[in-house]
């Protein structure tokens, strides 16, 4: 049924485990734990790699030198940064709402890690191929708002609170056009299942059929993942660092781990929804195409951030509601008419 190296690897691992243990439910549990561990490792490594990109490639693009002391050409800089972060003193400010403050960075990581379960990495390689995959994915992504708000509120600092409020305004505002943009894809596929969406792109990628939705998605994805030029939540020149102003050391690093994980998520989602997922010419296995496309998308998203200045809050919000939302609605209408015409012909 399914082909591909990753799928057969998983199948043989399952066979080995079944012959060793025998109880199906335990084998399932073990397989899930193994997959989740691999995904978490990928998530943690991506933070390391993307930080390096954020420093070296960004420096190259902006005609600076960037880190060049640690390791050959500064390649070990991220590792040094990580060690430095672990070594930092854990400062807990006075006057905070302790429980909410401690929980906020931890809870932020939960939805970011959870959505990796819904990504089809290769033919048949998906942890949870649920019926409402895309919808559930968006629903879980929307849970990241609350931890930001918690962190902003519990820090008991005005900059944090303003950052938290901005998160709500920005993420709620841009979620609506994003959902409507993705509606076009769902209408063409006729399913919310992630594997079905990739399957529907075996001939034509959705970037060709849904160019308008693709453009809307690029903008909303940058906003939803707090990437520059839309990172008004943490706008350094305005409100220091927004919700994570009062955090230090590893607690602060958790916020950044979540941010880089979200960056990779939007790369993966762009690949899966618009660029054909793991489909590609036969000379490379599916998961290679998947990662090549994903990393190119991530580079693109970072590049946008390095090139454009930060948007203003008010212009950004009115752009979301007054420009993107109508365009997304028109896209839904056009897609409906297009499907009708295609079916009649």
């Amino acid at each position: 049924m399914h082909s591909g190296i990753l799928y057969s690897l998983g199948q043989s691992l399952r066979e080995i485990l079944t012959s060793l243990i025998g109880v199906p439910i335990l084998v399932d549990l073990l397989m899930t734990i193994i997959c989740a561990t691999i995904l978490l490792l990928i998530m943690a490594t991506s933070a390391l790699v993307f930080t390096l990109g954020e420093r070296k490639i960004c420096a190259f693009i902006q005609v600076r030198i960037g880190p060049n002391r640690v390791g050959p050409g500064g390649l070990l800089q991220s590792v040094a940064d990580m060690l430095k972060l672990m070594d930092k003193e854990d400062i807990v400010p006075r006057g905070i709402d302790k429980w909410l403050w401690v929980l906020s960075p931890i809870l932020l990581l939960v939805p970011s890690a959870l959505i990796y379960a819904f990504f089809p990495f290769d033919d048949g390689v998906i942890l949870a191929d649920v019926n409402v995959g895309l919808f559930l994915l968006i629903a879980i992504t929307s849970q990241t708002i609350l931890p930001f708000l918690m962190g902003g509120y519990s820090s008991n600092s005005k900059y944090s609170l303003i950052g938290g409020m901005r998160t709500v305004a920005q993420m709620l505002g841009y979620e609506v056009p994003m959902v409507f943009a993705l509606m076009g894809i769902v209408m063409i596929t006729g399913s919310l299942k992630m594997s079905a969406i990739v399957e529907a792109q075996s001939d034509v990628w959705f970037i060709v059929l849904q160019p308008l939705a693709f453009l809307i998605y690029i903008v909303t994805a940058l906003v939803e993942s707090n990437r520059p030029p839309f990172n008004i939540v943490e706008g350094e020149s305005e409100i220091i660092a927004g919700p994570f102003t009062e955090y230090t050391g590893m607690r602060w690093a958790l916020f950044f781990l979540a941010e880089f994980s979200n960056l990779m998520c939007i790369g993966i989602l762009t690949t899966t929804l618009f660029l054909g997922g793991w489909h590609g010419p036969d000379f490379l296995p599916g998961f290679c195409w998947f990662w090549i496309k994903t990393l190119l998308c991530v580079l693109f998203y970072q590049w946008v951030g390095w090139t454009f200045p930060r948007a203003r809050v008010d212009s950004m919000l009115s752009f979301g509601w007054k420009v993107l939302l109508p365009i997304a609605l028109i896209n839904v209408l056009l897609t409906g008419v297009g499907i009708y015409v295609y079916n009649v012909m």
């Binding site: 909410l100 019926n131 409402v132 559930l136 929307s142 609350l146 708000l149 509120y153 409020m165 709620l172």
Partner: protein, 167 residues
Amino acid sequence: MNEMISTLVFYAMAMVILGTALGVVMSRNLVHSALLMTACFIGVGMLFFYLDADFLGAMEFMLYSGGVAILVVMGVMLTKRHDGPPGNPFNNNTILALGGAGLFVLVMIGVVISTPAPAGGYVSPDTVNELADMMLNKYILPFEIAATLLLAALVGAIILAKGDGEA
């Protein structure tokens, strides 16, 4: 063994839901109450998933813990008075509260007894299509009426928020 695990999962979820729901009414801090309510919503969403109602579960996440809860939390945070008494004070109406709660329990018991339990019939694995079919064919009129009502509420809220002078 599968049945046992399934029962255990159910009780774990029930404990999360009841615990957070109790926390909502017991907590003295109004913001904590609102946040615990979000946790309760997530628990209820999990329950939907447990019952194989994927779409309703995702809906619960999206609308209740993603939308409603955030608005409630924000409203509470913005209207909290730092100089006043704690936001969620207890009062002494124990007898009235007990009476009300008892009445509610009685009504619920009546409802549970009088509702025939659905026989474990066929449940379509594709709930989304069936729901869409029902909403847009069989129940199109109530669906449209609800949509119009929501639109009117939306316009009303915008007019209220804008104020008299500028409108």
